[in-house]
Symmetry: C2
Subunit: 420 residues, 2 copies
């Protein structure tokens, strides 16, 4: 069926003609369509991304493509991911206002989201490569994680709301499948799309394929990813999904969102910070030149976890409407002591989950399909492989020793030793 | 909107006229509608149940009512539960053929399931009260549990199938809410619908309301019930949902089904066997007269758990298509050793889950709204209270000491001591 509104990937002219039909959007741009400058800037793996600028202001248009951009039309991908991204952005902005881009328009059929143009924000990963410190990052991301993960869980509200969320996002099957395959499985076997720095890491890749304990631990985490319906998770919260300045932080691109394990988002942040930490050796002009920046990154790991932990607990302690752990049952001082002990047990489990998921996210960025610019931008493969090997060892320790780490300081101390 | 097919609770004449329009069903009954004998026999808490008998044979018709029959029209309940029951019966019969009633017809609008008339089967709970041994029970129920729980999990098949199951049953909100409230919360607070043997158990009820560790443990299990999307569970697998003879076992009434924690079903069976065990003292003509039957019941607890455990593991070891724990990753003897150790960890967790859920199901049957005939049929309240107090202590131990029991024999030994 072909109609006037049937999906079609747009170019600049087509996009302008669509935006011209939207009065609110046109008003934000100002002037006439002829005055608008449209640039396609997508450098991600999946979508078209346009920056549109007019006399009065700019905006961003993200349109899903019916295939994986990184791979090509041979890997089809449903346009409906845009619908889940839109729904996730709406939920996230409800609970973490100011920490996501503002949405101006959504067109489900065109798989198109019109949203705020974040400027002069840059992708955090690029800032980490350049060695830029972001004073608000850790507190903002801790707030984002705590607010979105707590408030979309059964700890915060009615079971019926939770089940409706589960149902809505349960159909985001294909995007979840990408994570299931690329994070938990493919790095540990011979898969056609795997890449690694070769021949430098050939032996490492083989060792990971033969690491029985690690493979099984990865699959146990995959089972958790498939079954732990804890909260609406972003699902791809690496440092490429964070845009920021020194004053402002935004989380973008939640198209992988679904109701999954909370630790997957927390771990994505931590794991990608550790990747950035290991990559500094490939970016510093002389050995040790980035020592202070390395220390800053590790401080962010601690600040994100501790900030998240404290904020999440504070939200939980105040909550009155959660249907899990019904507040009115907790009446006496003894009840409160028992409940607080349960909260500590819950947070400890979440800590271990976060470490293990974070470690798996590190490994897949080095041995799997999708790599990170932190490491890819190190031109000399010998130098890159040294960084990558350290990241692999940290990732492996996070997965296998999650239960043994006392606290986040203990994790950071271990990472320093493994990267030494 | 009123149409010819709009929902209406039926009586015998109306039901016959509906069945007469269904050729396959009419053929099973034989003769003419005038020849059919229709009896309403529902003694459950929620629905109308008719036995229809004709010259050629009989069948059962179960029709949902738009309210909780046990309470009345003041507690509305969606007719759609019949749709989830139908879907669960279809899934269960696929994986556990011969262990559910055969379905002849389903009418979604009338919330009506036409199914096999099981005869001379009786409700197992009534058999347990009479002291009847069922030689096939343990093996059949172990098979039912293993086949349905394994095969509707991500251990057995594609993640996409699992997500479709999650989505379908996520809308069975109101029935899940009954469990959430009545099993995990109400017994531990003053709730208008709670009942208990009073005044004999007044102090026990108060003690449970003030038992901080138990309350918090119950809520932790409620959180698990709300978030652990492991498998299609029956959701109400007590001994009143089992009909059997000495040669045949069937599981009925899965209207509480949804994608939840596997241990909830296993625990329901175990907990209700322990209730039957404690109730024997109220049914035996002289002290000790039911000692052999008590031993039989405890043997069933062990046989159900051990049978389930072994069958579930066997299915898992053979499985090739599960997207959790991808079989092709397990290649070397070392891999197999690590995987087998993971399977043991998984089964140990499932053991503890089953004990804790089973204990909570026992407690709710004594201090909450819905009681069991095992105990209710003990006319003398003093004698009943003695049985109930023992069951409460076993239930409490199952919840709080789940992690401390070595194996099912250890659990049974503890139950004997608590009931002595």
């Amino acid at each position: 069926m072909t109609t006037a509104t049937a999906y079609a990937a747009v170019d600049g002219a087509k996009l302008s003609s669509i935006l011209a039909t939207l009065p609110d959007v046109s008003a934000r741009l100002g002037g006439k369509p002829n005055d608008w400058r449209v640039r396609e800037v997508g450098d991600g793996n999946l979508n078209l991304v346009f920056i549109v600028e007019g006399p009065a202001g700019g905006l961003v248009v993200k349109q899903a493509l019916p295939y994986v951009r990184l791979v090509g039309e041979s890997w089809p991908l449903p346009l409906e991911r845009s619908w889940y991204e839109y729904n996730a952005l709406v939920e996230q902005s409800r609970y973490a206002p100011g920490l996501t881009p503002e949405i101006f328009h959504f067109d489900r059929e065109q798989a198109m989201i019109v949203m705020e143009y974040l400027s002069p924000h840059i992708i955090m990963r690029k800032g980490l490569i350049r060695g830029i410190e972001y004073p608000r990052f850790a507190a903002d991301i801790a707030e984002f994680l705590a607010q979105t993960l707590f408030n979309t869980s059964a700890l915060a509200g009615p079971a019926a709301d939770h089940k409706r969320r589960v149902k809505l996002f349960a159909s985001n099957i294909e995007l979840c499948r990408i994570t299931e395959d690329l994070v938990f499985t493919d790095p540990y076997r011979e898969a056609p799309l795997n890449r690694w720095t070769s021949p430098q890491l050939d032996a490492d890749k083989r060792a990971f394929e033969n690491d029985s304990a690690l493979k099984v631990a990865a699959q146990a985490r995959k089972y958790q990813f498939l079954t732990a319906a804890q909260a609406l998770i972003h699902g791809d919260l690496h440092t490429g999904s964070i845009m920021l300045t020194s004053e402002d932080t935004r989380v973008i691109d939640p198209e992988f969102s679904f109701i999954g394990p909370m630790g997957f988002d927390v771990g994505a942040v931590i794991g990608n910070l550790f990747i950035a930490y290991c990559a500094q050796e490939g970016h510093e002009p002389s050995p040790g030149a980035r020592d202070a920046y390395r220390a800053w990154i590790l401080n962010q790991v601690a600040a994100v976890w501790n900030g998240f932990h404290d904020r999440f607990l504070a939200l939980w302690r105040q909550a009155k409407a959660g249907e899990a752990y019904v507040a009115s049952l907790i009446a006496s001082p003894q009840d409160e002591t028992a409940m607080e002990s349960e909260r500590m047990r819950f947070m400890r489990t979440l800590f271990e989950d976060s470490l293990a998921f974070g470690g798996l996210k590190m490994i897949r960025r080095i041995l799997g399909l999708a790599h990170t610019e932190d490491l890819e931008s190190i031109a000399d493969p010998d130098r890159r492989a040294i960084c990558e090997r350290k990241a692999l060892q940290i990732g492996r320790a996070l997965v296998l020793r999650a239960a043994a780490f006392r606290d986040i300081a203990d994790v950071i101390a271990a990472a320093k030793i493994l990267a030494a």
